[in-house]
Amino acid sequence: MTEGSNGDALARIVATASTQLDLLADARRRPEIDRAGLAQTALDLLLESIAREAAAAGGELVGFAERFEADKARGLDVRRHLIALGADWSCRHCKNDVVRAVILTLADDVWKPQLVCRACGRTSPLAPRGIAALKKRFGARLEDPAWDPTENGFEVSS
């Protein structure tokens, strides 16, 4: 990596950080805003930006990028991905298609997912695209009975 590209990367990170500061300053002027929630998004995006630059830089910085990716995967909140998991799905009971939550049930050491309908509150199974999206994000954990899904925003049914 050259000195110039270092400078470019830093400039991009600073630009990202600067805009995050704008967001937080803005939130202070808006009484209706959940500042903790917005701060979390700001931090996520800043770390994402740094990790991308680290991955592009190569060398020992890649270690940071890998650590970031691992941490991101570990802490993934399913509630942020309800739209992808609800692809092609509609509630078996009321036909609405807005997902409120994902509920997991442990059966034979495998977590079985169902979607909770935001309109009627009842559950029904995911469509194939939703299952694929779930597996892409949570993969092997769905087959780990020791996993605590509530840490990733799932609801658990006994």
Binding site: D22, E32, G37, S49, R80, A119
Partner: protein, 736 residues
């Protein structure tokens, strides 16, 4: 008598504004609502002629030549500018040429006496004459004049011929308007357009010409040209000079026609005005506006026949304020407080009705079926009915349902409204409280709108439960009175708490069989969502704080020389202050989709297209679009500020992280590429309402973008349920 007759004079009455279906109005109808004659394409952008000159009559205008002045656009109402035909980039950021076009149209000033015009370009402008109270010796518009196009008036254009030639009355004779007032009117104009059925005058632009008003004490205040749009027909136009009242009949007829309130009857095959029915329609419109003010906790602050539109729309907004509770606040010394301001409106309308009535000849009285109008009686009854209806809406009921209940179960609605009104009127001390410089937090004894906002969720969870403790909690009693009074207040609150539960339950029982609700669950969702959204306080619009904040921004503008400051504060204040679900459903434009759905509420905000998409079978989506175009092996987002370029991989991996609950929770939605656009679809339910804001970022990194020109601007939305969609469908069909 022939002066108000003639073929077609009473035909083609302007269509009334309906907030719910406004998006289905044709461009021509929208222009007519703005007082623009689209048939006569005049003006810099061929916007069309100013109708007010013909409606009020050219004889009621003082003509004067204005000269072109240099300036810059401090703030532009981008969507209104587009509606009027100005070419504004999708990003909302003015280019040099688009700013030039705006300035060419509206940057005019009447030169002060003694100033040579020289070889400067001039434009004939028109200052309207009117009468009434609070005019400070002017004969009407002392510092405002209409342009011949766009029905645009320029406030702060300089001293008009109607301004008093009297240096002792400095306020009414300097001809300027404070920049602060321009922004106040800009904000309130847009908020009023959302909140009030009859709408409001709106501000197209605030132009900085670099001028200041220098007060006799040596202080200075930055001025601006405030470009106002809308019909702007005032009751005071009928009072012009009072001695000239005999000409008010024709002006009344034409004005009522343009406001959509003219009622006709057939006489020998010809449509002629039915005066009393027309007056009743106007009285009802004003009563509705007055009731809506109570429902939104808004005070106009300076009621007079020249500070309102004849059709009930809001006009002259510089003193307007909201408040956190329901205290009897006032702004000007002489004005009536909240909950009493309607009495001022009534006395102004009474005066106008009397003048118009007196102006008819005997023959005209016969032709127009003119009888003495009992304005006080009619207004009083209309106000009571409208207020009951508005408070039923504040309970979360749809407009159509509240209207029907006033027909079918008026006692139930008024009994509930009576309890709400009594709660609203409870104060810790007698008197009226000046809200010009103070936000009053300790005058009201309860927060009745907090109860209305949060109670539906509890009620529908178990309608038959005893909710008395919750009702008391939600009222958050705030008793600061002396011990004796506090005890009495506490007892009264307890009595009203006990009355509220049954009154509310009776209201909901009466509404549950209304065809506007598909079933009990749909009703519960609709009521709960509407009440929770509409009853949030308008906490950015307290006059004492808003004016102070704007002064700070004007100082910052002077320091940084950056007009984006104003866009940030004005656009966001407006966005955060929209409360009417009906008006949000009817915002923007509407069209049919090829697959049988409807696209509603379409708006372009800072280069991003937002809309609500709805299908008859129940599917609902918030839909976002960003235009893309190939560029140097990548893809440019041409409408987004800075026109960034993304790689194909970045574009395909574009994600929108958004919130609709003020960042308490967030979700993500992935982009879909559709031809020359990337789109995002967010599943929602009918009756959902909120404010969408978020950030776009590429999953492959190195790109992210906020959904606003500066920080989040957001898109306020309301999603129609089945019945509302059907109403919009019918409105679109009638246009087709």
């Amino acid at each position: 008598m022939t002066r108000i007759r003639g073929k077609g004079v009473f035909d083609d009455v302007a269509p009334r504004r309906d907030p719910l279906t406004q998006s289905a109005a044709t461009p021509e109808a929208r222009l007519r609502q703005l007082g623009v004659d689209a048939a006569e394409r005049v003006g810099p952008s061929n916007v069309g002629a100013s109708k007010i000159l013909d409606v009020v009559g050219k004889e009621r205008f003082a003509k004067v030549d204005a000269v072109r002045v240099p300036g810059r656009v401090a703030w532009l109402n981008v969507e209104l500018a587009r509606e009027l035909g100005f070419d504004v980039p999708a990003s909302g950021r003015l280019t040099e040429s688009s700013e030039r076009a705006i300035l060419d149209a509206v940057a005019w000033r009447i030169p002060p006496k003694g100033e040579e015009v020289g070889d400067r370009e001039t434009l004939r402008v028109f200052a309207d004459r009117y009468g009434g109270t609070g005019l400070g010796g002017t004969g009407g518009a002392g510092r405002t004049a209409f342009l011949p196009f766009g029905n645009l008036s320029i406030k702060g254009i300089g001293k008009t011929p109607l301004s008093p030639d009297n240096d002792r009355d400095f306020l009414h004779s300097h001809g300027g308007a404070p920049m602060r007032e321009g922004f106040v009117e800009a904000i309130w104009g847009e908020v009023n357009a959302n909140l009030f059925t009859e709408g409001s005058t709106r501000i197209l632009a605030v132009i900085d010409t670099g001028d200041f008003t220098e007060f006799p004490d040596g202080t200075k205040e930055r001025r601006a040209l405030i470009v106002r749009a809308g019909a702007q027909i005032r009751p005071a136009h009928l009072l012009e000079g009072l001695s000239g009242h005999k000409t008010s009949g024709p002006v009344f007829a034409r004005s009522a026609k343009e406001s959509g309130h003219l009622v006709t009857r057939q006489v020998r095959g010809e449509a002629v005005m039915d005066f009393n029915a027309t007056m009743s329609s106007l009285i009802d419109a004003h009563a509705k506006t007055a009731a809506e003010q109570v429902r939104w906790r808004i005070l106009h602050g300076a009621m007079s026949s020249s500070n309102m539109e004849l059709g009930g729309a809001q006009l002259d907004l510089a003193t307007e304020t909201s408040q956190p509770y329901t205290a009897p606040i006032h702004v000007l010394k002489w004005s009536q407080p909240y909950l009493q301001e309607h009495t001022e409106r009534l006395s102004e309308i009474e005066r106008v009705a009397r003048v118009v009535y007196d102006g008819f000849s005997k023959a005209e009285r016969s032709l127009f079926a003119v009888k003495q109008v009992k304005v006080g009686q009619e207004f009083g009854a209309a106000y009571e009915a409208n207020l009951a209806e508005q408070l039923a809406k504040a309970a979360g009921l749809k407009t159509a349902v509240a209207e029907r209940l006033m027909e079918t179960s008026p006692e139930t609605v008024t009994a509930y409204a009576k309890v709400v009104r009594e709660l609203a009127a409870l104060t810790n001390e007698d008197g009226r409280f000046n809200a010009d410089k103070t936000v009053h937090l300790d005058k009201s004894a309860v927060d009745v709108f907090n109860l209305l906002r949060r109670f539906p969720a509890l009620y529908f969870a178990d309608p038959s439960a005893d909710h008395t403790p919750s009702i008391r909690d939600l009222l958050t009693p705030m008793i600061h009175a002396n011990p004796g009074a506090a005890l009495r207040l506490g007892h009264r609150i307890d009595e009203l708490v006990a009355e509220f539960g049954p009154a509310y339950a009776a209201l909901m029982d009466a509404a549950k069989s209304d065809p506007a609700y598909e079933d009990a669950a749909a009703m519960a969702r609709s009521v709960t969502q509407r009440a929770a959204f509409e009853n949030m306080p308008l906490d950015r619009l307290y006059k004492a704080e808003l004016h102070h904040a704007l002064i700070e921004q004007i100082d910052a503008y002077a320091w940084h020389n950056d007009a984006r400051i104003f866009r940030e504060v004005i656009d966001k204040t407006v966005s955060a202050s929209q409360r009417s679900v009906d008006a949000l459903i009817g915002q923007g434009t509407a069209r049919r989709l090829d697959d049988g759905g409807l696209e509603l509420g379409k708006r372009t905000i800072d280069g991003i297209d937002y809309a609500v998409r709805a299908w008859p079978e129940g599917r609902r989506r918030l839909h976002l679009e960003l235009p893309v175009r190939p560029n140097d092996g990548g893809f440019e987002l041409p409408t987004v500020p800075g026109a960034p370029t993304l790689s194909s991989q970045q574009l395909d991996g574009l994600v929108y992280r958004f919130t609709t609950d003020g960042w308490k929770t967030t979700q993500e939605v992935e982009a879909r590429r559709e031809g020359d656009r990337v789109t995002f679809d967010i599943p929602v339910l009918g009756s959902d309402v909120g404010q969408l804001e978020g950030v776009f970022f590429a999953a492959q990194g190195r790109f992210w973008l906020k959904d606003g020109a500066s920080n989040f601007r957001g898109y306020s939305f309301a999603v129609p349920d089945r019945a509302e969609l059907s109403t919009l469908d019918a409105a679109l069909s009638s246009r087709e």
